[in-house]
């Protein structure tokens, strides 16, 4: 059964009601288990678990140190283009947004790569809007060999592609593909994604399968916090993860839980999640999947990251610019969203070192996973 079929059989309302309906005793039972079922994760995500957050965080930290040691990976995003054919109500790159559009050419990309390398960063995340025609597979084929020369690890966050396209990207040096579902709530998904291919939820939900079938080393899952009920979204993401881990047992998986940030679209957040709840979410996933890589970006403040990274986070971005050309070519262009942690990678690294963590700049090689 495909995940899409499995997902269709779920009723959002029932899951949402269930997600609040746990007792302290159920939370405590989940905290004592070494292998958690989905219902244990639900308990840890429930309101009943909030008073036990110190215990949850302590256990999450212990599991993180056991599995990942004191290492924290560093990466930076490289925005290649802000062209987009989608209309997403929360995004500053949306079709109707009056922003200056730009797609970097080879010379500009090389300049940006050098600027990122100069910050000490060796692992890069390539980001584009979703514009199949102008920034589609041909563009990626053109620019990847160039970018690959600069970095030990190359991750991709672009529109969902076909399996054969992913296979070709793998051979050109893509190590990971991020495919954030944004929300697993079908009704809300349609409300937020008004135009363009992104409004096809089926195509997006099945995309991690296509990455797995292509044999790419790592798949990044994520939800955009603020769009819908976060507890219910988290449970559906956990189901997705379980499904994918069984299907693609050679893949690594990472989790991103970005909160909506102010962008030039100026949206309101309809389902906010508090700092405390975000910590609960991150720590609950650590107990559910000790091997899961968890990333926390510069969307979050320096202070929040300072407190949360040591608990369960394995990867951080730093020095990020979220517009094409932002590092060197044209630093004053409009961002996709405003970032909150403006420290340089070296500043972030120094702060983590003081907390007893070891920044890892390189943990991969271009010959791995081809």
């Amino acid at each position: 059964m495909s995940f899409y079929t499995q997902w269709q059989q779920q009723d959002w309302q029932t899951l949402q009601l269930q997600s609040r309906n746990f007792s302290t005793a159920q939370v405590q039972a989940a905290l004592h288990k070494t292998r958690l079922a989905l219902s244990d994760l639900q308990a840890l995500l429930s309101p009943a678990a909030l008073p036990l957050l110190p215990v949850l965080a302590g256990k999450a930290q212990q599991l993180t140190r056991q599995r990942f040691g004191h290492s924290v990976q560093f990466y930076a995003p490289l925005y290649l283009s802000n062209l987009c054919a989608n209309e997403c109500t929360y995004c500053g790159f949306s079709l109707s947004q009056k922003v200056k559009r730009r797609t970097l050419n080879s010379t500009e990309i090389a300049q940006e790569c050098l600027a990122i390398k100069a910050m000490g960063i060796d692992q890069v995340l390539l980001v584009t809007g979703e514009h199949e025609r102008k920034v589609g597979i041909d563009y990626f084929f053109d620019v990847l060999p160039l970018i690959r020369r600069y970095f030990s690890s190359v991750q991709l966050e672009v529109q969902p592609l076909r399996t054969d396209e992913y296979a070709r990207l793998k051979s050109l040096g893509v190590d990971a593909v991020m495919l954030y579902q944004e929300t697993y709530n079908a009704a809300a998904y349609q409300q937020y994604h008004l135009k363009g291919k992104k409004s096809d939820i089926h195509w997006r939900l099945d995309a991690p399968d296509r990455v797995g079938q292509a044999g790419i080393d790592k798949i990044g899952l994520g939800i955009l916090l603020g769009l819908s009920d976060w507890r219910t979204d988290a449970i559906l993401l956990a189901q997705h993860l379980q499904y994918l881990q069984k299907q693609y047992w050679q893949c690594r998986f990472s989790l991103s839980v970005p909160r909506i940030r102010p962008c030039s679209g100026g949206n309101e957040v309809s389902n906010p999640i508090s700092d405390k709840e975000l910590i609960q979410l991150i720590c609950a996933f650590r107990l559910f999947a000790p091997e899961l890589e968890i990333s926390l970006s510069t969307r979050e403040s320096a202070e929040f990251r300072q407190h949360v990274v040591p608990l369960a986070v394995t990867s951080v971005s730093a020095g990020s610019k979220t517009q094409p050309g932002g590092y060197s070519v044209e630093p004053e262009n409009l961002e996709q969203f405003s970032i909150d942690d403006n420290r340089s990678p070296q500043q972030v690294a120094r702060a983590l070192t003081q907390q007893g963590l070891q920044p890892v700049w390189k943990d991969w090689d271009s010959f791995l996973g081809r």
Binding site: R65, Q66, S71, D217, Q250, E291, L357, Q358, V360, L368
Partner: protein, 255 residues
């Protein structure tokens, strides 16, 4: 002395270099353990740079570096990594690690054997991380590996000798050193492995993730020595009944 290929080591404790909070703590832990063989992941090294935060501190120490191929999912990738490591670190010693399963990091027996056969032909001193499978260990030995490194439990799990019954068979049959790798979470686990007759053990998580890695490294060193001494002395057999320590046999003999 522990003899592997053409070298001898007075310490029977091997250390991993990952997971430490700081290179300085890693150095101190290695010193406290007396360890002479340290493994490091090739994928972590920024080759071509003057200073590397992992390699440079290790190169200052008087130890044999044991580069490993972690990250490789296939024999082909492992062989590529091995050749890079040999060029970069000027050593033909190699810890062969192929774990395609990123969740439990279980070694792939098929790819590992294929890679070992080729790497030995290419002149490497191969120490393969492998499952606790007695037949596989014999096959790796026949392929020319300098030692075998079966797992006690899943990497980083701290579960101890979960594979004890298989390890006993492997040690009984081996003609190369058997180094128990992975899963040893406490000095008592290391002592138990040495009491079984293991030639050495490899530890990383239990030391690096400890509250006090330096003290824990020392504790592991003592446990490894104690276990090895006990193995040489010959352990007394366990019985289900009590046996008096001053037996009546002398008196009975006079009757």
């Amino acid at each position: 002395m522990l003899h592997i290929a053409n070298k001898s080591f007075s310490s029977r404790l091997l250390l991993g270099s990952g997971k430490f909070a700081h290179p300085g703590i890693m150095q101190q832990a290695i010193q406290a353990s007396g360890c002479q063989l340290v493994t490091l992941a090739l994928k972590r090294l920024q080759l071509g740079q003057q200073q590397d935060d992992l390699l440079s501190p290790l190169q200052q120490m008087n130890i044999q570096l044991l580069p490993n191929t972690s990250g490789a999912k296939t024999a082909k990738e492992a062989i590529f990594a091995a050749e890079l490591a040999r060029d970069a670190l000027q050593t033909n010693w190699l810890k062969l690690e192929i774990h395609p399963d990123p969740r439990y990091l279980m070694p792939d027996p098929i790819e590992t054997l294929m890679a070992a056969e080729q790497l030995v032909k290419l002149g490497f001193v191969v120490l393969p991380y492998c499952s606790a499978d007695p037949v596989l260990c014999k096959r790796l030995e026949q392929a020319g590996c300098a030692a075998v490194m079966p797992l006690g439990a899943a990497i980083g799990s701290n579960q101890g000798l979960q594979t004890r019954a298989m390890l006993e068979i492997i040690i009984e049959q081996a003609m190369v050193p058997v180094i128990i790798d992975a899963g040893l979470g406490a000095p008592s686990h290391a002592a138990a492995a040495m009491e079984l007759g293991a030639a050495a053990v490899l530890v990383n998580t239990a030391i690096a993730s400890s509250q006090n890695p330096v003290a824990m490294a020392g504790a592991f060193a003592q446990a490894v020595n104690a276990g090895h001494m006990a193995y040489n002395a010959g352990l007394a057999a366990a019985h289900s009944h009590a046996a008096p320590s001053s037996p009546l046999t002398d008196f009975l003999a006079t009757l």
